[in-house]
Symmetry: C3
């Protein structure tokens, strides 16, 4: 695809570009690449200071640049075509979509798909080989059910939602429109509810529901558990990475992101636009306010007010954490002084 | 269901109740709910001080209360039916079971289930669509094998045990009676055994066995590995949450609970009634005594005596951990004083 | 198998042995066992000081010993047959392979396997029941595809590679020769790439590739993600345990080992022979040098030079970590002194 055509398709986001000044800077773009690996025919991008110096060495034929005139001049000087935007990463994401769309099976129901007579299947749905759709399941229009997906009875799947191979959706689960459930994920499995008795653990049946609102994405091998009563709910456009565990009865707001291996115990409530780094754990029944950020491996043991950034186990403010982490490294030195002081105090 | 009937069915546990004093307090109960979400027609429960004040605001029609006369009087005053018990959560669990039982497929073998001729299948077993039961597998009476379960050769499954969709049970695994294996779990996969050599890692074949005793429950996407020699064993009525990893050769006692994302390295031995919080890790070949509690994210690097409560990485007693965590937050302040002291000592 | 025959089959590694001195020390070996559980007819091994004293009590009929004459004399005295080697664990691994090979299905394509006409299948391949092999997939000679594996379009599987039941290999993935992918693993799932916009998260399509080089092993329920551009690559003979998460665009060298529940964020580069303990997390775009060791639960937030051993979150050198961990336990004591000093300084 010519660079000129990419500019045209990206629209407003690409208004400022080298092509306006130099009609010759119109390379043929064959694919996209990261800035450090780009070669002739590649379009790449630079975002922020970290990779800015790469403009001087990259072999990319075209770049998406931030609004930085020095970088733009440097690119022009090196004969690299460019567009400039406030959001280079977003423009790059849009450019990828010009070159690639993920594999999607065609609509149609594979003859080996096992579909209960009472299931209700919408229009233009794709259901792959050996998928199992049990009684009274409802699948809405244009949903894509990859091979080997198992839907337990009464599950509901919204429009345009994609379920990847080998995921399992259990009873009492309702998944909204435009969701993506990745391979190996289990939605609606029984919450971990056992009551101690002298004879051992008494199982609390998990009679509640799981609701994923529209636009939710659940990573590979993640799990979202069904509660004893009430709902486990994940809000609109919230995105979960791989191996994230959402305990029974959690209520998660909209537009959150949770990185790999995050675990929420039962009954946690999470506001909107919360960002949890990898391997964060949250104890049961706490509340995480809107816009909270928890850095990777944080262990959150109490509720966190909106807008806070927290770190560590048990969590503290990120500001305190960064200070204390530096001092932690000086503990051996502090301890030497402590011993001297202790002796000094004893001798006084 | 009338409240009167619930009381009757709960038996001894509900001996003390509002109905004895006030025959009119017999609401129709349609379902159960958490105390903060309960509305008319709901039965809910209160356990301990945390939610006690909810008696004054809940819209529940009936409550399971602790043995607290103030709460009982308040409920009566508000016209809420109640029962009182030492174990409100247990009574609530029993009440849920009056309203809901998890989906169970009927006995019978689906025509698409692929069952080896040498497999031995008990009475009233359910085997779902596309399940694969390989040679010499033994499945006992009333076991439930959901769709898409794969059983490797020679696996044994006990009576009344349920295997959820998409779980995999590999060779040399014996699962007892009344167990539940949730979706995506893998039991009997090869332990992680490699020996360093100058040519790279030499694979140690995992020729041992995995044994789950009766009443064990394994969460979604959890894994229990097969050892090189001997057994990996999980004791009676031990319950594992989702994404728990049990390394090769671990021996786990009875009535333990392990929350989400716990990981035990190889050869760990665990006593009875041990409770591990979420994301706890235990290093190889240590012993965890009976009744030990490890709080979430603990990293256990040495054996722990019976009855201890431990926290932190590397773990310390929970008592020390709580103190040290508070002081950790004062490290910046301590460090300022340290610098003054250091200067003072230098000037002396 | 007679001990004599085991010695013969182990070859050079068993040159020094009790049989040379005493022709009668030739017990019949029925199986192998760990040293603390071994009984008559078992071969076991002792490696290092930790289990050395077991020579005096073990009921094993034969032992693999280190080059330690005292242990050898003790074994002879107790009538235990033995071989001695620098590498007892390696010799034990080789002995296991004389008694056991993991279950392998015979070559052949199960009639229920769903194979696209455009797929290319090599010689002596085994494809199990209900496996799904989509269009233009290439499977090389002697590969073993267990039941219920799903291969997305255009996937390539190398010679002698084994895919266990219920794993999923998505588009744009190339797996080399002699690899093992365990049950529930997902290779080639979409990387977690979302760009924030005022309207929510914009999905960056993951148009890159995943490459596993020869001899790679991926544990049960682990995930290796496909990147937006470029490759995610795992080098020759690198071994991953269960539930390991490899983010999009990571480049991992050869002969690494990663224990259970390790998580690498996007774009991490890892050298050769790196060893990561269980539950280690690594933040995005850092570089881990050759031969680095990170102990369990480390949180690596910056690049680590070759050969370093690191621990803790945020990581520090293991040497500092061990010192600081000991002092951490003294924080309450240090704090008492700190308060005295503070008062003393205030009064001066």
């Amino acid at each position: 695809m010519e660079f000129k055509e990419i500019i045209a398709q990206l629209g407003d986001i690409a208004a400022l570009n080298s092509f306006n000044c130099n009609q010759n800077l119109n390379p043929e773009i064959s694919s996209l690449a990261a800035i450090d690996l780009a070669t002739t025919g590649n379009l790449s991008y630079i975002e922020g200071a970290r990779f800015a110096s790469m403009v001087e060495k990259t072999e990319a034929s075209a770049l998406i640049l931030p609004n930085d005139e020095t970088l733009q001049a440097k690119a022009t000087q090196r004969g690299i075509a460019w567009i400039a935007t406030k959001e280079p990463r977003l423009a790059f994401a849009k450019a990828i979509a010009l070159f690639y769309q993920p594999y999607q099976p065609n609509p149609g129901i594979h003859p080996t798909a096992m579909i209960a007579p009472s299931a209700v299947i919408g229009k233009n749905v794709s259901i792959g080989a050996y998928a199992v759709v049990q009684k009274e399941v409802k699948i809405s229009d244009r949903a894509i059910i990859h091979p080997h997906v198992v839907l337990y009875p009464e599950v509901e799947i919204g429009e345009n939602t994609t379920l990847h191979a080998n995921c399992t959706i259990q009873e009492r689960t309702k998944i909204g429109a435009n969701c993506v459930i990745h391979s190996g994920a289990v939605i609606g499995g029984e919450g971990f509810g056992f009551v101690p008795t002298p004879e051992g653990w008494f199982k609390m049946e998990q009679s509640g529901y799981v609701v994923l609102e529209d636009g939710v994405e659940i990573g590979c091998n993640s799990t979202v558990d069904r509660p004893a009563v009430g709902e486990t709910r994940i809000g609109r456009n919230t995105k979960l990475d791989n191996m994230v565990h959402i305990g029974h009865g959690c209520k998660i707001g909209s537009n959150c992101v949770m990185a790999g291996q995050v675990a929420l115990a039962g009954g946690v409530t999470v506001g909107d636009r919360v960002m949890l780094g990898g391997q964060v754990g949250i104890t049961n029944h706490v509340h995480i306010g809107d816009g909270v950020i928890a850095t990777a491996q944080s262990g959150i043991t109490n509720s966190v007010p909106p807008g806070e950034m927290v770190s560590g186990t048990p969590h503290v403010s990120n500001r305190l954490y960064r200070k204390a982490s530096v001092i932690y490294r000086k503990l051996p030195e502090i301890y030497e002084t402590f011993k001297q002081v202790k002796q000094y105090l004893a001798e006084k």
